[in-house]
């Protein structure tokens, strides 16, 4: 494995690489880069109920994106488990604190809020806003979409509110 793969990628390498997924998906199939649509596709596939929001042909609209999402999971596995010498250590301790993100921590208040409450708000918020970091912040802003600019302001307003007004009291010292 080349040595560049092992070091932590600087922002000016990682950022443009992420940005290139926008033209790649457009050129392959005229698709707009965005992950959170998959949450809707999964609900539509598994438990649409009688809800209008989930009553559409998810295979037609979303199969490509669900396949992309399966790739993200596989890619996460490969990047973390390829045993390369001298690689920077991508481990549980470097990506998520054990005090919050283990099965044991799930049973604590701060773990429950980080995993279950946070996850729920990610799902609800992305569907209400019609996009997440990839769909609004990257695809939307790159296309000079005003709705995306408003959404991104919202992302940061919510993120800062949670960081300064909620998390200090919930997480405490790690």
């Amino acid at each position: 494995m080349a040595s560049w793969f092992n070091a932590e990628w600087p922002w000016y390498v990682a950022g443009p690489m992420i940005g290139l997924f926008v033209p790649a998906l457009l050129l392959v199939g005229n698709k707009v880069f965005g992950i959170s649509g998959n949450l809707r596709h999964l609900c539509s596939a598994i438990l649409p109920g009688k809800l209008e929001f989930f009553r559409y042909d998810w295979k037609r609209k979303g199969l490509w994106n669900l396949v992309f999402l399966a790739g993200v999971l596989i890619g996460g596995y490969l990047a973390a488990h390829l045993d390369v010498p001298h690689a920077i250590n991508i481990s549980h301790a470097t990506v998520a604190p054990r005090e919050l993100f283990t099965w044991h921590a799930l049973l604590t208040l701060r773990g429950f809020i980080s995993i279950v409450v946070g996850g729920f708000l990610v799902g609800f918020g992305t569907q209400y806003a019609g996009g997440c970091t990839s769909g609004h912040a990257i695809s939307g802003l790159a296309n000079f979409d005003l709705p995306s600019l408003i959404a991104v302001f919202g992302f940061f307003a919510g993120g800062l509110a949670a960081t300064y007004l909620i998390l200090p009291f919930v997480i405490g010292r790690l």
Binding site: P23, L26, L27, F54, V72, G119, G158
Partner: protein
């Protein structure tokens, strides 16, 4: 650039076309997804610590990554438009514009997502990449995100958009 009616817009990850997809194209999407998962991991974008640093303004890193991703994507879109390129299956490339409506959904929905982003330290892509990284409890976070998605689907007729 075409405008999509609100009712038809399927949110983040919408497609310009509804045609059935050839298996060869699906293989390309899989490879691209794998590449994205690798990038999210090796760049540490999926790290809870990097997200906390961002919201505490302790590091330029995440701003640099998101900012340069936007600039790269915008330049790419400009080139695609200027050259009038088609996608692999010969369709003209179009990016649907989101209808503005009252704008409330973007402000309020965005804020709700932002709260969750800081709490989990992950947006939807990293949630899945973290499971691949072996943080298996993130399966619960994904299930909870699906519950949140379903709750939105249930409440959406009564929410301001």
């Amino acid at each position: 650039m075409t405008e999509t009616p609100l009712s038809d817009f399927d949110g983040c990850g919408s497609s310009g076309s509804d045609q059935h997809i050839r298996p060869t194209l699906l293989a390309i999407y899989l490879v691209l997804g794998i590449a994205f998962g690798v990038v999210l991991t090796r760049s540490e974008v999926l790290s809870w610590f990097r997200i906390q640093e961002m919201f505490h303004f302790q590091s330029f890193r995440m701003y640099g990554i998101i900012g340069s991703a936007i600039v790269t994507a915008a330049a790419s879109i400009a080139i695609i438009k200027a050259m009038g390129l088609n996608s692999l299956d010969g369709e003209p490339i179009t990016i649907p514009r989101r209808p503005f409506g009252s704008g409330i959904r973007y402000a309020l929905g965005g804020t709700i997502f932002g709260l969750g982003w800081a709490m989990t330290g992950a947006c939807p892509g990293p949630l899945f990449a973290l499971i691949g990284n072996g943080i298996s409890v993130m399966i619960v976070a994904v299930l909870s995100a699906l519950a949140g998605t379903w709750a939105y689907g249930w409440l959406s007729p009564r929410l301001p958009h």
